[in-house]
Symmetry: C2
Subunit: 407 residues, 2 copies
Amino acid sequence: MKNLLVGQSGGPTAVINGSLYGVLTESIRHPESIGRVYGMRNGIEGFLEGHYVDLTARLSEKEQQALLYTPGAFLGSCRYKLPEELTDPVYPRLFEAFLGMNIGYVLYIGGNDSMDTVSKLSRYAASVHSDIRFIGIPKTIDNDLVLTDHTPGFGSAAKYVASTVREICIDASVYHTESVTVVEIMGRNTGWLTAACALARRFENDNPVMIFLPEIPFDQEAFLSGVSEQLRLRKNVTVCVSEGIRDKNGTFICEYSGAQGTDAFGHRMLTGCGKYLENLIRERLGIKVRSIELNVSQRCCSSSLSDTDLQEAVLAGKKGVLFALDKKTGVMVTFRRTAHSPYAITCQAEDVGNICNLEKTVPANWITEDGSDIKQELKDYLFPLIQGSVTIPMKDGLPDFAYLEDL
Amino acid sequence: MKNLLVGQSGGPTAVINGSLYGVLTESIRHPESIGRVYGMRNGIEGFLEGHYVDLTARLSEKEQQALLYTPGAFLGSCRYKLPEELTDPVYPRLFEAFLGMNIGYVLYIGGNDSMDTVSKLSRYAASVHSDIRFIGIPKTIDNDLVLTDHTPGFGSAAKYVASTVREICIDASVYHTESVTVVEIMGRNTGWLTAACALARRFENDNPVMIFLPEIPFDQEAFLSGVSEQLRLRKNVTVCVSEGIRDKNGTFICEYSGAQGTDAFGHRMLTGCGKYLENLIRERLGIKVRSIELNVSQRCCSSSLSDTDLQEAVLAGKKGVLFALDKKTGVMVTFRRTAHSPYAITCQAEDVGNICNLEKTVPANWITEDGSDIKQELKDYLFPLIQGSVTIPMKDGLPDFAYLEDL
């Protein structure tokens, strides 16, 4: 009988605690193999400083349920890279701590960087013949992990983005005057989340009429021509851009905002690419224009959870426990889509060494030739991931979340 | 038997179409007095150009229901001020159109400026002995209309702001490193909406720890001291500021952002006050900081509707019809709070002449002495307005809104 240690790492998502719920509830179902469930405070970084919490003893049934819709990382998170050299003294220190707590299973919920942690720990374990098993549970709104159809956290972010863009398009269309709205979506290197804006349309040629991903070089002149052309067809034009769009030289479009601008403190002033394109349109087309940066609500909004995403986040946590009990180590839980309609997935375990530090970008053949829209195949891929709603328990008119400090 | 004409004007809210629903459904209940219900397209401006639609004939029961949760202005909106001089030829033109359509009642849903339209039309009617009745239905997320306890549209915006700030505080607290988050809320001259951020707290001294309204002069040095002091008490500090905060000289804080900054086009670069304060904190305190502008979702998010607000928006529309049938004219529907707990309101009719072009600010005695927070009285005032949730019908994973072009 061994104890289980679980941690969260990297940027939070709206359902990262759903995976924690999955780990916790599945662990409790195996009292013959798993004793206590410990949670690292602030990931491996906090654990290295001795911070952890006994979740078995402290979470009531109601608190466990609240994990399902609580955004942020319930256990706290970190952005910490373990040393490349497995000879570094941090490794024996960690394994001594694991031994002291009688840990048999370490589950780490995170993205590319966090899988690097799982990879290093499992390789170190092999090198010292430790039988502790290390499992990665995927999480990222960016949907950029390889070897998996998609990633928990992405579906809810996509649903938030699609709903919000639909509302913005309505809001932008109330006046009978020409206007352009530029919406900036998260995604530095991959355009999965920005692609979800296409789901906001109710019919072909509906707003948002253009969508730009970082995968395709962005041409400012072609963009202006496209906006002008759209303004000949309709009064109100909404375009969506990924924060990471860059030109053919690889220069981020947002970097042009600082080309001549300095702030009140004499510093080079960088705004997002949305703000830059707003200024560009106003300057060159002389049209009423505004830009909107969707910001952190993309990863922490609880009122637009995708039930499909939440259930899959829980499933990933549960499968992680089952894989650990099945003697797997150095693997991440992945999804394979086995059917489109009705949509179905199965779970696999893939070597984290083939996943960590890699990025899955949107395939070029899922983007239109002129680079200003996505193709039906990508819409079909996205569609099932945003289905289903989650009712959030409210208290005093606001969502009643779970907080570790309340325990 | 006369027909009824209804219009929407000014910036939209999440429940402005709830008032339209109220007007429409109440009108249908009085077939002895009200014939057809016409909707102005894009307010009085569009109507002047001959644009209107017959709502009686065209909205199915299902479409009427969908108005209840559809953001934006279903009929389209305008920002159009009628001429001050009632001798202007626009007035006889309008009344000729009313006559041609056999209009007996004109209901106008809007804020301060829209009430100016109601005032002018009713005064012109009196001057020409027309018996057409003009009624104002209040709407604004700013809650700045006088002679009413509060305004439809505000409660849902307040609920959105409080929920979102609560989620942002959670998102901002995941890392174990010192950080400051500045959230910028809509409200150029009044701080009602920013005050709602206080509802995001779960206990005293919870984040957001400071809240700044435009009603109190903003002191940058005192602000920096306050932030530093808070950082001695906690790792993560969230502060909320109204977009309209200004210093003791009346200069908007956002204007300081352009004091030295120019954009890539050589233009003076104005960012919001949130972005300016972010830069100020980074420069002066050297701390990790980010700013978030909540933007238009404050007035168009459908997933955080306050049921109290929605029901009151419908009520205001219905009362408007009843007041018109009761031979009232030149009045706006107002709310009086008759009980705090359980909360209750009654409706009155107040002369629009005493409402239009005036602004109700937050009383100074509802703000703390140092100007960095609100008092319990204001929280008590806000609390009932955000209560109750609304379930939005979904289609294909997204809210299924009503669109006039679909009719």
